[in-house]
């Protein structure tokens, strides 16, 4: 029997060869018209640092404007074709929107979940579409799922940490490998004991309440992908609550948002999260009731 991995390698090899063959064909052929297909490629437009770019021809004062523009990621100094965008502005917007949509509509990879050694528990949502249109189902689990969770996870943990895809799988892929060890290390430094971490598929922030009740956690903590903007799809949030319970007000949640390489870095955020958890356990409070 060929294992799945071996099979994958074989297929990849075949596809690579196919590509090479096709490329060879194309390079030796002329297309219908007179233009020959050349070797090489168009540069990656997403590698352009928009913040340093000013497309206005003969600007009154490009230098001074670029100084201001350095303070914002807004798409400025983009100039125009008639009243419309230059082609590159339009194309970059489309590429960034595609990346944002991918972050929402693609799931967190099995590879990452396996690498972290996490079990997966699914909310009542059966697919992405239902997850997006039924926020009520993204915070609930079946009795069977909860029973499995109770069976497989440590009960009464001081901290129950878990990860949910939320609205950006890209955010989880980009930050989890760095933030998880940082939180773990921070908690160990305080001698705080962490329960069994896991992954929740199609999870909303409020999936925290049934999890907290099921495992009887002191502090519940979820790392979740934020709704992506065009500037970045990698932003992650961490929501925490002391003794989270179904029906509790939103004001009892503490949030650390904007965790990504352009905001608060994953490592920095991890250390901060451990500090906040320590404060929650000490004060037996969270959200507006917590003094930090």
């Amino acid at each position: 029997m060929v294992s799945e991995n071996e099979l994958k390698t074989i297929i990849e090899e075949v596809i690579k060869n196919l590509d090479r063959n096709n490329l060879g064909d194309k390079e030796s052929n002329k297309s219908g018209g007179n233009s020959e297909i050349e070797a090489g490629e168009i540069p990656d437009i997403t590698e352009v640092d928009l913040q340093k770019e000013m497309l206005v021809p003969e600007a009154n004062n490009q230098e001074e404007f670029l100084k201001l523009k350095a303070k914002t990621s807004a798409r400025l100094g983009v100039w125009r074709a008639g009243p419309r965008y230059k082609t590159n502005t339009l194309l970059r917007f489309r590429a960034d929107h595609a990346a944002a949509m991918d972050a929402v509509f693609t799931g967190v990879s099995e590879e990452l979940i396996n690498e972290m050694n996490f079990d997966t528990y699914q909310t009542l949502c059966s697919d992405k579409d239902e997850f997006l249109t039924r926020p009520d189902l993204g915070k609930l689990f079946s009795d069977q799922t909860l029973a499995e969770m109770k069976n497989n996870c440590q009960s009464n943990p001081q901290v129950q940490l878990y990860v949910a895809d939320g609205l950006s799988s890209t955010a989880i892929e980009a930050n989890l490998r760095d933030i998880f060890p940082a939180i773990k290390q921070g908690l160990e430094g305080y001698n705080i004991e962490m329960g069994t971490p896991f992954f929740v598929k199609f999870g909303r922030v409020a999936s925290m309440e049934p999890i907290s009740e099921c495992l009887n956690a002191d502090v519940s903590c979820v790392l979740i992908g934020e709704r992506p903007g065009l500037a970045t799809a990698e932003s992650m949030s961490c929501y925490m609550a002391y003794k989270a319970e179904i029906g509790m007000p939103e004001a009892r949640r503490t949030v650390i948002s904007n965790i990504h390489s352009g905001g608060t870095s994953a490592v920095e955020a991890g250390a901060h999260i451990a500090d906040v958890i320590k404060a929650m356990l000490d004060q037996k409070a969270s959200g507006l009731d917590l003094e930090i």
Partner: protein
């Protein structure tokens, strides 16, 4: 009133007006989430038939929330002109639709009967309309308003400059503001959504915009979109601003969740009349959108479109300068795709105008919805035909603070060309003086260069 009909021999019975109004809606994910939508296309058609035959008095006497239990219902009912109401109370909803569309009914005729309509009647008329009905009907109604300057005049199209920044960095805000002005955007208002809602920060941004407006003598108005309590405190602390902003909704409980009620809005309105830097008479800026009640669990099982019409009825009390509709901002649980977003925008624009409000539109989308730039631009062009007073202006359509996409400075300039409209008169004169626009209302050759503000040295 009759709540029952037959279609193709099959009976359709509706429990009450609330259920009927919901089932008469075009398909929307928000109604489906609340499990109040029509079961199928036939039931939807049947609901429209029953609704068409209701009398306007049925809708006044049976609001979806009783006025004794909901202050939004009470405020709306108290605003009704009883004399005009007597003239039209026996009309059916179908009569109302046809009266609005009739060639012999003028815009001022519609504005007159508008004084006798509540939210339920306004929503009902819109539910009987197709998309082209909604555009045509709205295009007949022209409503202007004045804070410092007048917007919404015939032949004018205005824009809110929205130079938001993810950390409220004033240099970053300034850069976006300069770019927007260089495209002729900003005659409705220059308004910032701050990240930090503190009084200190709100005051700092208010003063910053105001100083820039004064230095460059820009005929417009300013606004900082913090919570209204924060704005009030900033003004009490001496900040200079033109109009007060607040998000509002169509139930008392939703407004409570927003941290406002009638009493608070009354006192805010009094304060801006006394301490604002604009003469008015229109000094409030409201933001609304289908689905906000639902997302706050304050919908009472009422459909998002009817609640939106009630929001407009409530807004009327404060004679706002701007009402801005942002249906599309919340997400796919309220409006699933481009088709639903476009429909909601056309409904809201018409319903707002029929309520007598100076409507601006923000056809927009988030990245977790099956909508894209083409849907957004289609909605924008339809609304321009329908006669929206103003739109937003965001750098290249990408709001880096609120993480959503809205109309851009480029869209704004393009729309003015497409529908042959000019900026508000005083602002137009300023653009001519600055060399940003030509006499014909098109962008000048120099327009789009934000660094024109550096021409004579220091910018601010």
């Amino acid at each position: 009133m009759k709540l029952k009909t037959k279609l193709f021999g099959e009976s359709y019975q509706f429990k009450d007006i609330k259920e009927l109004l919901a089932k008469a809606n075009e398909k929307k994910s928000g109604d489906e989430l609340l499990k109040i939508a029509a079961e199928n296309a036939k039931e939807r058609a049947a609901a429209k038939v029953v609704l068409a035959n209701l009398k306007l008095s049925d809708l006044r006497e049976n609001p979806v929330l009783d006025k004794s239990e909901d202050e939004v219902s009470r405020v709306i009912d108290e605003l009704i002109n009883e004399r005009i109401y007597q003239e039209i109370k026996d009309w059916t909803v179908s009569d109302l639709r046809e009266y609005i569309l009739s060639h012999s009914t003028s815009g001022s005729d519609i504005k007159r009967i508008s004084r006798a309509l509540n939210g339920e009647m306004v929503a009902a008329a819109a539910k009987l309309m197709s998309n082209m009905d909604l555009v045509y009907a709205a295009s007949k109604i022209n409503i202007s308003s004045k804070a410092n300057t007048v917007i919404g005049l015939d032949g004018c199209l205005s824009f809110r400059l929205q130079p938001n920044h993810p950390t409220d960095d004033l240099d970053g805000i300034l850069a976006s503001m300069m770019e927007g002005l260089s495209y002729g955007c900003g005659d409705a208002v220059i308004g910032i959504n701050p990240v930090n809602d503190s009084v200190e920060n709100t005051k700092a941004i208010m003063d910053f915009i105001n100083d820039f407006i004064n230095k460059w003598e820009i005929p417009t108005q300013s606004c900082v979109l913090s919570h209204i309590k924060t704005q009030m405190k900033a003004v009490e602390a001496g900040a200079s601003v033109s109009v007060f902003f607040q998000s509002i909704a169509g139930t008392e409980s939703a407004n409570k969740a927003f941290g406002v009620d009638e009493a608070l809005l009354d006192s805010a309105y009094d304060l801006i009349k006394k301490q604002g830097n604009a003469p008015g008479p229109n000094l409030m800026y409201f933001e609304t959108g289908q689905g906000s009640e639902m997302s706050l669990n304050t919908d009472h099982g009422i459909d998002e479109m009817t609640l939106e019409a009630r929001t407009y009825g409530f807004a009327k009390k404060y004679k706002p300068f701007l009402v801005n509709n942002v249906s599309g901002f919340i997400g796919p649980e309220t409006l699933y795709d481009g088709k639903q977003m476009i429909r909601a925008n056309l409904e809201d624009h018409f319903m707002g105008k029929l309520s007598g409000l100076p409507m601006g539109m923000a056809p927009c989308y988030t990245n977790h919805t099956k909508m894209d730039q083409n849907d957004q631009e289609t909605a924008t062009m339809l609304l321009a035909m329908a006669g929206s007073n103003y739109y937003m202006g965001v750098p290249a359509g990408d709001d880096i603070m609120l993480s959503y996409q809205d109309t851009s400075f480029h869209d704004d300039a393009t729309l003015r060309e497409l529908v042959d409209k000019k900026p508000a008169p005083e602002f137009f004169a300023w653009l001519l003086k600055m060399g940003i626009m030509n006499e014909d209302g098109r962008l000048s050759a120099e327009a789009g260069d934000p660094s024109i503000f550096f021409k004579n040295g220091e910018v601010n």
